[in-house]
């Protein structure tokens, strides 16, 4: 059979080299100009030999999601891999180790669970790995050789990648891995001479591969981030790991503090001095930060807070994705506490819109909550990100000489933005506080002043509309069904729309990185053109739908996707078809 796209999953336990296998395959594919998306799933238990999987989808054309099902499963741990079999598509394959020295009971054997529509390939992974390196460690590389033959993938891309990845470990390691790869390839070639063929464009240019977390970190540093404070938490830690390594090279700082309250406190402190500052956390950390985010609102101190969402509430599902933090991001503060909320949909968005987040935060002196999630943050994907180094579209508005004469830190302006100087600068003296204050910044509890200042703070969000990243309308303009979604579910929903279109149902989507504020006119026009609106999101309550309903007075079909590992485009398409059926009845 000929393939233009494949999805391969490695499954094993700690030490099986699951992640390194997928990094080699994804790197090889990206270097060969294929589009790739990689999703790793770990068990929540930190201790012990928990199960982990890494799934790699690669294709000659752009992939927007992990798709539906897998073509091949490499079961490096037999028992743990059994549950993965149900994801294999008809005609798919399972590679398993046939060189187990001990007897395996039928119930624990991976092979015994393979249905007849799926091809099982028993390969002596252990034996061949030992032959290559004298240890069991290269089983993943042996199976990669096997995969390469079974799907007719070009050998050289793997060989180059193995050399590239293991080079720093020395020639011996490179050699034993190359031998392991060859042995797997040859074994399969002899035992299973009939293979599939992966058809690819030999002229395709290499693509860059990046995770959402990496894109956020690099996007932020490229637009002038100089201070990062954080406390490690899954799935956001990677961002701090990167800034810790890279910021010092840019004369910046990363500090790991005792908890998330300290992190946001440090960020506000740094920002107060005029430094571009950011923190990154997950839901539990965001909960802890709420009070100081309120300070950021009240004192009008810029801050970028990245929330890489995971399942909640409380400690929740540390290793599963959910879009459950929209409400806390929008409303999680005492009083009338407006803040910018943004949600990128892919790695490229992560890079460009974290820069937009800084633009908004800096110019409008506001906290920006940047809602990534576990899937988006950790998945690797190829994209054509053009780096914007030293990017600074907006800066803080400084007072004029005239304004400095009687400097009012919270001066009332048309757009709500008061000119700002940092403490220590010549010519100004002011206090800042979380207490209600007057234009000078002095505490004031008069109701009229409070109303005026609240209006000022909200006014910024109206003025901001002209500076927001624009919405995009995707799909068929003449479609009756309109779709709204947010964040990382976008890719699967977009592919679901394509499946539906293939089945004769047209749809269109309003894609907006901005959750709050929004370009309301564009939304109104879009919704007015739809006979039926579907809002897809991955939470139980329908948090985005609630926002849209109250803002635009619409009555959408709400689809609350449960917290799952990547969303299924086929299920999205099925829902679209169902809605279409009702519409055409």
């Amino acid at each position: 059979m000929n393939y233009k796209e494949l999805t391969v999953r490695f499954c094993g336990i700690a030490g099986d080299g699951i992640v390194s296998s997928s990094r080699i395959i994804s790197g090889a594919c990206a270097d060969a100009g294929l589009h790739v998306m990689v999703n790793d799933i770990y068990s929540a238990e930190i201790r012990g030999l928990g199960k982990s999987t890494s799934t790699i989808r690669f294709s000659g054309s752009k992939v927007y999601s992990m798709g539906d099902g897998i073509n091949a499963l490499v079961g490096l741990a037999q028992q743990e891999s059994i549950d993965e079999i149900e994801d294999i598509r008809e005609g798919g394959s399972v590679i398993y180790d046939s060189s187990s020295p001990a007897d395996i009971p039928e119930t624990e054997s991976l092979a015994s669970h393979i249905p007849p529509e799926v091809n099982g390939y028993g390969i002596p992974l252990k034996t061949l790995a030992n032959q290559a390196s004298g240890s069991n460690r290269g089983r993943n590389i042996v199976s990669m050789g096997a995969l390469c033959h079974l799907y007719g993938l070009p050998k050289t891309i793997f060989i180059n990648q193995i050399e590239k990845i293991f080079k720093r470990k020395g020639d011996k390691v490179v050699e034993s891995n190359l031998t392991a790869f060859e042995l797997g390839y040859e074994y399969c070639q002899n035992q299973y001479p009939l293979n599939n063929l992966f058809v690819m464009d030999k002229k395709a240019k290499p693509l860059q591969i990046i995770s959402g977390n990496e894109a956020v970190a690099h996007g932020a540093m490229d637009c002038g981030l100089k201070f990062f404070a954080g406390y490690p938490i899954t799935p956001a830690t990677k961002i701090m790991e990167i800034t810790a390594k890279e910021l010092p090279k840019l004369n910046g700082w990363t500090i790991q503090v005792e908890d998330e309250i300290a992190a946001i406190g440090a960020v506000l402190g740094a920002s107060f001095t005029g430094t571009r500052a950011m923190t990154a956390t997950a839901g539990p950390g965001l909960s802890l930060m709420s009070e100081l985010i309120n300070l950021s609102v009240m004192a009008e101190i810029s801050a970028v807070i990245v929330n890489v969402q995971r399942g909640g509430p409380a400690t929740g599902l540390p290793t599963k994705v959910e879009q459950g933090d929209l409400n806390i991001s929008l409303y999680g503060g005492a009083g009338d506490s407006p803040r910018v909320v943004m949600a990128p949909t892919c790695s490229k968005d992560c890079y460009t819109s974290i820069q937009a987040a800084f633009d908004l935060a800096e110019k409008y002196q506001t906290p920006v909550i940047f809602l990534s999630d576990l899937f988006l943050g950790q998945r690797l994907e190829t994209d054509d990100i053009k780096r914007n180094i030293n990017y600074k579209k907006s800066t803080r508005i400084k007072p004029t000489r005239q304004q400095l004469k009687n400097y009012q830190r919270y001066a009332l302006t048309e757009d709500g933005v008061s000119p700002l100087i940092v403490p220590g600068e010549d010519g100004a003296f002011y206090s800042i506080t979380g207490l209600a204050h007057n234009t000078a910044g002095n505490p004031n509890f008069e109701s009229e002043v409070h109303l005026t200042m609240t209006q000022k703070r909200f006014r910024k969000f109206k003025s901001m509309v002209k500076d927001l990243p624009p919405v995009e309308i995707i799909g068929d303009a003449d479609a009756d069904i309109g779709i709204a979604c947010w964040g990382s579910t976008y890719g699967a929903i977009f592919e679901g729309m394509q499946i539906a279109r293939h089945n004769g149902v047209k749809t269109k989507m309003i894609k907006s990185i901005m959750i709050y504020p929004q370009d309301e006119e564009s939304f109104k026009t879009f919704f007015a053109s739809c006979k039926k609106i579907i809002v897809f999101e991955m939470n139980f309550q329908g948090q985005y739908a609630a926002l849209l309903k109250s803002t635009y007075n619409i009555k959408p079909v709400e689809v609350h996707i449960p917290s799952v590992d990547p969303v299924s485009p086929a299920k999205i398409a099925a829902k679209i078809m169902e809605v279409n059926h009702e519409l055409t009845q």
């Binding site: 007897d103 099982g120 390939y121």
Partner: protein, 333 residues
Amino acid sequence: MKCVIIGAGIAGVTAAETIKKINQDIDVVLIGKEQYLPYNRYRLTDYLCNVIDDTQLYFTSFDFFKKNNIKYRNGEYIKSINPAEKTIKYYHNEVMGYDKLLIATGGSQHLGPILKPFSQYIQSYYTLQDILLLKKFLPDIKHCVVYGENLSNLDLLAGLCNLDKKITYIIKGEKARFPLLKEEFEQDVHYFLKNKGIQCITNDKLVNIKKEKKKFTVETLNQKIIKTDIVFAWDDSKPNISLLEGTAIHKKTGILVNQYMETSEQDIFAAGDCAEIYHPILKNYWINFGWPNAREQGEIAGKNIAGEKALYQIHETLTFHLEGKPIKARWWE
């Protein structure tokens, strides 16, 4: 009760179906070494020559196994049996228990000591994988050397003729002798070979094969040298019974069974090309080879496993009538 069947050829599949027809409650596991759905082996040549397509090649479907609740484990090889523990062992060391076991592993082409060292240069012609590979290569192949006097050779020769290949057929005697066939039929074969322009090298043997680049050089006992693109060669067909090693199950060339298809070991049966059945008249054991016989033996074994009492009547002569056509009609009439 759990019945395990090793070998997913016609004998094994028929037995599985028969058992399920009699008693749905018996768990049936059918294990086959080949990756594919069970197929009509005797029609492989028709498939090679594009006379039939996939739908006519397979005699089962994934649906068939689902509907009959038969667990089909394809692409899996059984390496040993432990009758004392009532278990079998897979190639990957999985151990599976059974209450009743049917061995229906068929036969395969066998190379004698002279040809064995050249096995890597010899193209076998027995399984669907062989045919699928040939479908890939054959367009580039002009000249074939065939050696061996088996029915599958005859089938192959007919197929290669259909595909207009140049053929050299090395025959041990004066004329090709096909075991089990009547002399009159052999005469027909002889004319067939002549009429089709097959170059026959008689009274000779294949003794050496060399590979140079993509070509092969074949040498005979009488020092004839033939250059060719592909070599098909085997000495005879033998039952696949290596999994019996280490057991006390009685065997000669094949697995010895009585007319109930029972082996010498309790609860273990055998059927099809791997079984040698006691011939009450000849008072000896006999491989009742061929597709229709394997099917019938599978059915009898299935009935007996499911608790009925059925007796296999050995067929005196091999008619090879399939689908209402005599063998000659399938090949060259």
